[in-house]
């Protein structure tokens, strides 16, 4: 069982949360002009890293707020939590 540290409610059971997947995916500019490959890259292609992972969570059965989490996908250890409008933090001793 994972404990997810909600910035507002503290550590809560993963059951209360909805995982929003990879963070910092930006919708490409120029929707009228970009080609199909650019759309495919935005819609479907993912980093899916083995190691440091920046992702979004929503406390769906709690405060219902969204936030970012940095997690190691090998150990599932959560290394940092930060707000939706913040840039991804560096994790000391770890390269992303």
């Amino acid at each position: 069982m994972l404990l997810i540290p909600c910035p507002w409610c503290g550590e809560r059971d993963v059951h209360e949360f909805h995982c929003g997947g990879e963070a910092h995916i930006t919708r490409p500019a120029g929707a009228d002009t970009i080609d199909d490959a650019a759309w495919a890259d935005y819609l479907f292609m993912r980093q899916n890293p083995k190691g440091l992972y920046y992702e979004r969570w929503n406390h769906a059965h709690g405060c219902r707020k969204w936030f970012h989490v940095v997690r190691d996908t090998v150990s599932d250890q959560i290394l940092a939590v930060y707000q939706m409008d913040e840039a991804p933090p560096d994790i000391p001793g770890r390269s992303s």
Binding site: M1, L2, D13, V14, H15, H18, C19, G21, E22, D36, A37, W39, A40, D41, L43, F44, M45, R46, Q47, N48, P49, K50, Y53, E55, R71, T73, V74, S75, D76
Partner: protein
């Protein structure tokens, strides 16, 4: 290859079974091969076997970072069926089911394929309509499939509680009588032994650490046991395909999640078919050893941990106990996780990549075991001819650019 038969068994019994030969060699890797397959699970070993058997390419190595069949081949719930919705999937999975039907004889290895019937339960009107649509699609594609009402389910599998007092009552089911289960380890071992007999080198404890490229073409692999050159490399690494794609310099539309399964203590035969339910999320069968084999769901987050959350197991057991009240006092013996590579459309990717000579067979999500022989068969064709087999052409990576997705979320038993 030492042929297995009743006579060889009797002959070896006379010498106290001390003279059986090893089922496959464990050679040192050669510096160069015509084709190297990365991943010694069922799909990779099947690919090597069909390369040698049907395409005459025998200078082949299979490199495996752990032991044969130690990944998802040894972690799944062994269900085989072909009742998928779309024509593309029907072609691929039915091709595989037909290969299963003669596999033990072809490999001279008992894969214990047992066509005991697969039920997919419906718990509401929408389920029933969806299953009816799928059954009709199956029949138009020449795949055996039928609809049962609640009484039909009770007759086919008397253990299921079909009373209307259930929170999610059983209203009916689809039944594929040719579906069933096979012994997962035996599938890996059978393909390994048959491939080895045709000259394929099977190299275990050999982890790929890099993919060598000359411009746009693949040249070989860096591994923990040295450099292996090859102009054709087939990657079949469930649970790590994004990692390998990253080495080759491109991205895949895949995310990796833990999927769990568990087995109970062994009991006398009680359940003689496979029962699956998407809606309440339970699937269950009984192994020949007597254990109930139960498939749980995936965790919603990306992880390579090979273990999942207990809440997922708990949800599945709730559903199993409601459907089968007699299992409420069964004790669970073991529980484990495997990492499944999930595509956005719940269909696999089999074909060429942006790198010349590099082929990927991945993204089978939660249901790759059933496709083992068919997947190896069409992937071998793709590698040998440098063009896809007609059956796997629709499953190319570029469908995510063209938009020609093959959405099988309804037919995949585990919600993705």
């Amino acid at each position: 290859m030492q042929k297995y038969s009743i006579f060889s068994l009797a002959r070896n019994a006379l010498s106290r079974h001390e003279n059986w030969r090893e089922a496959w060699r464990s050679p040192e890797p050669k510096p160069e091969y015509d084709v190297v397959i990365v991943g010694g699970g069922g799909h990779g070993l099947a690919t090597a076997y069909y390369l040698a058997k049907e395409h005459g390419i025998t200078n082949v190595a299979v490199v495996e970072k752990g032991w044969l069949g130690g990944g998802n081949t040894g972690r799944n719930t062994t269900i085989v069926r072909s009742n998928y919705l779309w024509d593309e999937s029907a072609g691929l999975y039915e091709h595989s089911l037909k290969l299963w039907e003669g596999l033990s004889q072809k490999l001279n290895f008992n894969v214990m394929f047992s066509q005991r019937g697969v039920l997919n339960l419906a718990h509401n009107l929408h389920d029933l309509r969806e299953l009816s649509r799928r059954v009709n699609a199956n029949r138009l594609n020449g795949i055996d499939s039928e609809i049962l009402d609640a009484q039909g389910v009770k007759d086919f599998c008397p253990l299921i509680d079909t009373s209307l007092t259930l929170r999610y009552p059983v209203l009916g089911a689809s039944l594929q009588r040719r579906g069933g289960v096979a012994r997962h380890d035996a599938v890996a071992w059978g393909f390994a032994r048959a491939a080895d007999a045709l000259g394929v080198d099977i190299i275990q404890n050999c982890e790929v650490t890099g993919i060598l490229r000359d411009g746009d073409a693949v040249q070989g692999l860096e591994t923990s046991r040295g450099t292996i050159k090859a102009n054709k490399v087939g990657v079949v690494v469930a649970g790590h395909c994004s990692v390998l794609a990253n080495m080759a310099g491109f991205r895949l539309p895949i995310e990796s999640h833990p999927l769990q399964a568990l087995v109970s203590e062994p009991v006398k035969p009680v359940l003689d078919c496979v029962v699956m339910s998407n809606a309440v999320h339970a699937y269950i069968s009984q192994s020949d050893k007597g254990e109930l084999v139960i498939g749980a769901g995936i965790d919603s987050y990306v992880s390579y941990s090979q273990r999942g959350g207990f809440d997922v197991v708990e949800d599945t057991l709730h559903a199993v106990v409601e459907l089968f009240p007699m299992f409420s006092r069964m004790r669970m013996l073991r529980q484990w996780g495997g990492i499944v590579d999930v595509c956005p459309d719940a269909s696999p990717i089999i074909g060429k990549t942006p790198v010349q000579g590099l082929y990927f067979n991945c993204g089978w999500g939660t249901g790759g075991f059933k496709a083992t022989p068919g997947s190896g068969n069409v992937f071998a064709h793709t590698i040998a001819r440098d063009e896809p087999h007609p059956l796997n052409a629709p499953f190319a990576l570029d469908r995510f650019t063209s938009g020609a997705l093959i959405d099988e979320h309804g037919a995949a038993a585990v919600a993705h």
